[in-house]
């Protein structure tokens, strides 16, 4: 009896270990190590890394660039999250209807997701190019002057936001499309017998049933608003004067341009804290409003 109980324990650990080993090595250990590193100075050549307490955090509080990228990241999130969700839902509803060329439309909407972000950025670079870029050529037809989209601090961040939304919406559309197809047609039939209009049906039936997908998509959108920075490397490198720099981009810059790894760890801790708070908030508060079948 005791023997078999112990066997079960071993069995359980054996089953758990592959996932656990990978999670600990690649997620938990680095996260803990990041927090520890943020309390040490950066080692340089012969100068060893030493414990400096909260010094890195004091630097962080006084770092203008840090506050600037944090504010930028806030606006980036505020625009990309709702806009990409609304756009993806609208596209999903549109291509879920029976219409001619539906397959083609679906493919067209999904294409941005398939393209690597670096390639996307290179395409958009030429859209935004002042003078002979696509956008300015179209504006030129209406005799508008040329506009330096990425080169002026007022528009650089918004140019980056547009690319991110364009890239993300198609991906989220797929989830909404899948969810829409799991809604039984009998509900729509029942609603139309009751005389419910199209909008009423969406507001009271379809949208509530889509809430689990909306939760999933919004968690992803939040994570992406911190993670999706590849196009910045290609398009603006954070410029001009950090106008389009985001937190993760700044972390990369500090770690691999300035080689100040300890300070980069400190910035990473801030990012971890933000993401954890947002994720916990979403799961605990939004979860109550989500209707699972």
């Amino acid at each position: 009896m005791r023997n078999s109980a112990r066997h079960q324990w071993i069995y359980a650990w054996l089953l758990l270990s592959p996932a656990m080993i990978f999670l600990i090595t690649f997620t938990h250990y680095p996260a803990v190590q990041t927090v520890i590193s943020s309390f040490f100075s950066t080692a340089r050549g012969r100068r060893e890394s030493v414990f400096i307490g909260w010094d890195n955090y004091t630097t962080l509080m006084a770092d203008e660039v840090f506050w600037k990228v944090l504010v930028n990241n806030f606006w980036y999130a505020v625009w990309t999250i709702p806009l990409s969700i609304i756009l993806s839902l609208a596209m999903a509803l549109w291509v879920n209807d029976k219409l001619r060329g539906r397959g083609f439309l679906r493919m067209a909407y999904f294409t941005p997701t398939v393209l690597p972000l670096i390639a996307v950025a290179n395409i958009w670079l030429f859209f935004y190019t002042p003078g002979f870029g696509l956008i300015d050529q179209i504006r030129g037809l209406f005799a508008y002057p040329e506009q330096n989209w990425m080169g002026s601090p007022d528009t650089a961040l918004y140019s980056m936001i547009a690319v991110a939304i364009w890239k993300e919406a198609g991906f989220f559309m797929i989830f909404y499309l899948a969810a829409l197809q799991t809604i039984p047609p009998s509900l729509r039939e029942a609603a139309s017998i009751e005389g419910a209009g199209k909008f009423y049906y969406f507001r009271r039936i379809a949208f509530p049933l889509l809430m689990p997908t909306t939760l999933f998509v919004s968690v992803n959108a939040v994570i992406n608003s911190f993670r999706l920075v590849d196009h910045i490397f290609v398009m603006t490198e954070g410029g001009p004067n950090n106008a389009s720099s985001l937190l993760l981009f700044y972390i990369y810059e500090v770690a691999f341009d300035y080689w100040d790894t300890a300070y980069a760890a400190t910035l990473t801790v801030v990012m971890l804290a933000i993401l954890t708070t947002v994720a916990i908030g979403q799961f605990f508060f939004l979860d109550k409003k989500v209707h699972y079948k």
Partner: protein, 427 residues
């Protein structure tokens, strides 16, 4: 299944035995970056293979390491992990960072006094400014460049200018620029006078203004900057005024990538960019073009740019000797000529320009000589300790002045204060 694995294992052990058996061959790892186009990578690989074929005792593995910044990240990460390459081509401006990280050694200890004289002192002095500090040579110039002015001869003729004469000084550049700037009926510009790309790293081409103004941005010890020198301020005001006052350049920060295309499309009549684009412009420009030195103010002047060979510390003396021997070979006149013709980089030694190959090339395509002649006036590219931070501070200052957020004086005062704070521990 199992027998197959055994088979592979035994083959593997045999080959490793063979490697040990091949009599004390020196193995070298060599990282190289490629900043422009494809010809560079194949040329480096071919040159390396030629060397290995001629020197049976040495094995060199040439590893393509991505862009300059990728290669820098890879080499430093490998060095920190205790497994650096023995040799790498990295940005010349990374010298102080690599010294600070204690991962490179000077070349001087591995060359004889004769070689010191004939080899190290045989490079253009302006290239050595970024390669030597404290009396030691840490870098050997290899893929080096300098910015030049390209002009569209057709546009010059249409504007009533002499198509064969480029602006020689700042005033002429503005004056020519005004004649070259064309507007359509609704007042929108269809052709700008000049284009000086400034996105990402404005400091490099800005040195093409601050140097002629008579300023040097950083000292040779890499621990002091002169960002708010009145001459630097004057240069920045000139740059800002090109758009703000004279209206001869597109306002805001200007991208590097589309710059050659803007030139080909007639969007701008003059452009400043690296000599690395020479082959590209020669192939793609649909009109006659000219190449000139950057215009002068108090003097002529321009920065140098590009990559140097560095010798990494964590290797055996045999490896270092072999690595130095390889660098001597690949920078020798014949090899440098092959390299320069294939890529457009400036051959870094005067004696390379005496080879038949380069003479023939220059006779066929005289613009290639402009960059070489400009070297006489060229200075070091901005490089200090904590180079990433200091340069970024300066870039931010330039960008904010270009965007009109701050005056040149304010922006540069602030950058100087920040740089002072960063560099204090190094004085």
């Amino acid at each position: 299944m199992f027998p197959k694995i055994f088979k592979i294992a035994s083959v593997a052990s045999l080959t490793s035995l063979a490697a040990v058996g091949s009599a004390f061959a020196v193995d070298l790892e060599f990282y190289f970056p490629v900043a422009v186009g494809g010809a560079a990578a194949t040329t480096i690989e071919k040159l390396t293979a030629d060397y290995v074929a001629a020197n049976p005792g040495v094995n060199i593995e040439a590893i393509y390491a991505g862009s300059y910044s990728d290669a820098g990240v890879k080499a430093l990460t490998a060095a920190r992990g205790g497994k650096p390459p023995q040799l790498s081509v990295l940005l010349s401006t990374q010298m102080f960072t690599l010294i600070d990280e204690d991962v490179i050694v000077p070349f001087d200890d591995f060359v004889s006094a004769d070689e010191q004289e004939s080899w190290i002192n045989g490079f253009y002095p302006s290239f050595m400014e970024n390669s030597q500090t404290g009396g030691k040579t840490y870098g050997i110039p290899f893929q080096r460049s300098t910015p030049v002015l390209y002009w569209n001869k057709k546009a010059f003729a249409e504007a009533g200018l002499d198509p064969d004469v480029a602006p020689a000084n700042w005033d002429e550049m503005v004056e020519f620029g005004k004649k070259l700037t064309k507007k359509d009926d609704s007042g929108n510009v269809t052709q700008w006078g000049v284009r000086i790309p400034s996105a990402g790293f404005p400091y490099w081409l800005f040195q093409g203004l601050s140097t002629p103004a008579g300023a040097i941005l950083a000292n040779s010890d890499g621990n002091k900057t002169n960002f708010n020198d009145p001459k630097v301020v004057e240069a920045l005001e000139y740059l800002v005024d090109l758009s703000a006052k004279h209206g001869v350049m597109q306002p805001g920060s200007i991208e590097w990538g589309p710059t050659p295309k803007a030139f080909f499309e007639g969007e701008t009549a003059m452009m400043w960019t690296t000599t690395g684009n020479l082959v590209n412009v020669r192939t793609n420009a649909p009109f006659d073009f000219g190449v000139a030195m950057l215009p002068a103010k108090e003097r002529r002047g321009a920065p140098t740019g590009g990559g140097n060979f560095y010798l990494f510390k964590d290797s055996t003396d045999e490896q270092k000797d072999a690595a130095v021997d390889f660098v001597q070979w690949i920078t020798s006149p014949e090899q440098a000529a092959v390299w320069s013709i294939a890529t457009g980089y400036v051959a870094p030694r005067p004696d390379a320009w005496e080879t038949d190959a380069l003479k023939a090339y220059a006779a066929d395509f005289p613009p290639a000589l402009v960059a070489r002649d400009q070297l006489e006036f060229a200075v070091a590219e901005l490089s200090t300790y904590e180079n990433g931070k200091v340069t970024q501070t300066f870039n931010d200052a330039l960008a904010s002045a270009i965007a009109g957020e701050k005056t040149a004086q304010e922006a540069l005062d602030q950058a100087q204060a920040t740089a002072d704070r960063i560099l204090k521990p190094y004085r």
